[in-house]
């Protein structure tokens, strides 16, 4: 997360401005420079004149009077009105020219859908991939089609010199062409450049950021493939299924669960996931007034409850000390229901919840695990073990005959 090193590693950051890495930066930076020069000159004229007058014309005795009673000078007054007016109008045109670029994306933009919610961004790529960071290809125009699902947010990319608000149920757009590769991720550093939310949106506003990664074409294509299927991971040239618990852990931060649910027992906006599974709960339920959920209930009932509390949070509300706590915003549930992929993600999260702080938890086994191989791991295949024993028993004569 070291922005400074990223700035120093590249080109053209100045005292005032960070590195500019998009096609929009040139206009913005040159406008900035023009205005900076002119306004600084005027500032020094004003302050300089003021200081000079204070020193030169200071009063030395109480009855010292002014040495001039001039109260008008029409040519001067016209000049000091007309010149600033001309200058500010010039600034207007400079800004306008740059601004027009913002609203004229080229037709070959790649579209990425951006969804803002309290308090994370989700980037949905054209190939169906989704991630909480923005990946773009160097030199390719990108248009972000943005909207929010709860309150106003904004997407700000300082390095690209662009931002716009995300409005609930209305689409806003920005576009840019990245012109440089972003710093690669390292051990300690997620890499990329910052994306900030700049429209106050509640408690997590200062935590609502993301990264934009500008990749070369090959890396970009590879990344898109990876993102499209979170369920598989590559080991060299072999791909294998990601275990549910591992995927759940990734989704926990990627989908923003971490903004409200802690893993270490600390209270937050939502209940902590530590020891959540199979904890005694008091309920008030909309669809079933007699519903209860106890630690002694079986896995199926618990999993059904967790699933429903993600997709229909208000159906069963936990009651504590007579107060019904409301469920979480439905914006989360809508991204975890509906399609088979989303159901799988739900499954992954539930398994992750199950694994948290519960001793004796046995994770489900990924499809392609070698544990399914009865020969390699007979201990996990009792039926074949029994079959083997039966075979043995059948072929071994009883003792004593």
């Amino acid at each position: 997360m070291n922005l400074l090193s990223h700035i120093l590693a590249g080109t053209d950051p100045t005292f005032f401005l960070p590195k500019g890495a998009s096609n929009l930066a040139g206009d913005v930076d040159s406008a900035w420079n023009i205005i900076l020069v002119v306004t600084t000159i005027f500032f020094f004229i004003v302050v300089g004149a003021m200081t000079f007058f204070v020193i030169k014309y200071r009063r030395r005795a109480p009855n010292d009077g002014a040495t001039s009673e001039v109260t008008h000078n029409t040519p001067l007054e016209i000049a000091w009105t007309a010149i600033p007016l001309a200058l500010v109008i010039m600034f207007f045109f400079v800004g306008f020219k740059g601004f027009l670029k913002y609203d004229n994306p080229p037709p070959n933009c790649r579209h990425v859908e951006v969804i803002g919610q309290q308090w994370k961004f989700t980037f949905n790529y054209p190939n169906g991939a989704t991630d909480s960071d923005l990946y773009v290809e160097e030199g390719q125009p990108v248009q972000l089609d943005m909207h929010s699902v709860d309150v106003l947010h904004a997407l700000y990319l300082p390095t690209f010199r662009t931002q716009r608000n995300l409005i609930p149920y209305r689409q806003t757009e920005i576009w840019f062409i990245p012109t440089e590769l972003s710093p690669a991720p390292t051990q300690s550093d997620p890499g990329g450049w910052p994306i900030f939310c700049t429209q106050h949106c509640g408690n997590g506003h200062s935590r609502m950021f993301a990264h934009v990664h500008v990749l070369a074409k090959a890396d970009y294509d590879q990344k898109m493939k990876e993102l499209a299927n979170p369920f598989k991971k590559k080991n060299g040239d072999k791909s294998s299924w990601v275990p549910y618990v591992q995927l759940g852990e990734k989704l926990y931060s990627q989908m923003g669960c971490n903004t409200c649910h802690s893993l270490d027992g600390k209270a937050g906006t939502g209940p902590t996931w530590k020891g959540l599974y199979k904890r005694d709960h008091d309920f008030s339920s909309l669809d079933d007034p007699n519903y209860t959920l106890k630690a002694s209930d079986n896995d199926a009932k618990w999993e059904a409850y967790l699933s429903q509390s993600i997709t229909s949070p208000d159906a069963k509300l936990v009651r504590l000390n007579g107060i019904n706590y409301h469920g979480m915003p439905s914006s989360y549930g809508s991204t975890l229901g509906g399609s088979p992929e989303n159901i799988e993600k739900q499954r992954a999260l539930i398994e992750f919840i199950k694994s948290n702080g519960n001793t004796g938890y046995k994770p489900p086994i990924p499809f392609d695990s070698e544990l399914y191989d009865a020969d390699k791991h007979p201990e996990f295949h009792p039926e074949s073990l029994a079959a083997q024993k039966a075979k043995e028993a059948a072929t071994t004569p009883p003792a004593g005959q």
Binding site: Y169, R170, L286, D314, N324, P329, S330
Partner: protein, 377 residues
Amino acid sequence: MTTTAHSAPSHPPEGDGHGHPVPATDHADAHGHEHPKFLAHHFDTPQQQFDSGKLGVWLFLTTEILLFSGLFCAYAVYRARHPEVFSFAHHYLNKWLGALNTIVLIFSSFTMAWAVRASQLGEKPFLIALPKGKGQYQQLFRCSHRQLCMFLLSITIVCGGVFMCVKYLEYKNKWQENLLPGELFRPTELPGETARPRDEAKPLAKEGAPPEGLTAGVAATRAASQPAAAATPVALAPEASIPAVGPATRQAPEGFLVEQSQIPRAAIGPAGVSSDWEKAHASRFEEQSVVVTKEQVGPEPYNTHIFFGIYFLMTGLHGIHVLAGMALIGWVLVRTRRGDFGPDYFSPVDFVGLYWHIVDLVWIFLFPLLYLIGNSG
């Protein structure tokens, strides 16, 4: 409207408003003070006081216009974006009651203006007489203008009261048919139908349990903002409380036309992206059509509740101003009875009159904009 001070017979000659003192002999009042009772000490002449008050009142009325202007702006924005909502929903309003209110208010402005004139004439007599021939008159009725003023002010208050009663009737009707703003909008009828009585709707949901599909965020906001008042009678009814509408056979009374604009039905929201509210009320928006005079004109718009939000806000704010006006006229009535006003000093009546005229003027704009939307959509 209001006659100026200059035509009053015994009014002292006007000062120039800039503080030139008026010779004491020109004060025509009986008190004999240099400063008449009604003249505040920081003013030099009654004319200065009157002029200041007049300017002050006009400034205040400007702020009132600007207060309403925000609402007119909201009206303009929503009507421009959703004309079909306005041309559908205004049929829920009864334009005859609206017209009655308009006539009542215009009449009350007339009595108010006359009352200002009457208060100016003070104790001069008011006569109604019949000519009897030969230059003689038969006096039918006589009273002082002050008494006439009291009578006219009372009529004005009564007219205001009539206006508020009609308003109450209209609001009551809206309440009974759940034609309420925002999420409370659950009409039990379509325009022109007879309303179903409210109790026929299914009993409302238990408190504390928001209906399915409604976002928790909204439920939470409501729950949090009404912590003690959980027993609100208009907690949301589950969808099933809305009578299921049958297929497209609903009839409107004869000659009653429900227009639909040619603009495609707005999805939801000003820019046409869907919202959760719509999903919650989905059952009402199955592909129903309203058959009017045996023609299908199209389904009810999604956003009808917008109209009622604007309707209640505008007429509600206006109603509050009518009540305030009635109170002010009552105060002026009390002062008239006490004999405070005369040719020298009648500015409170004048200024309250100006306020009342503005209240009337706002209604004159509200009435056509809300009630008379008409066929052009």
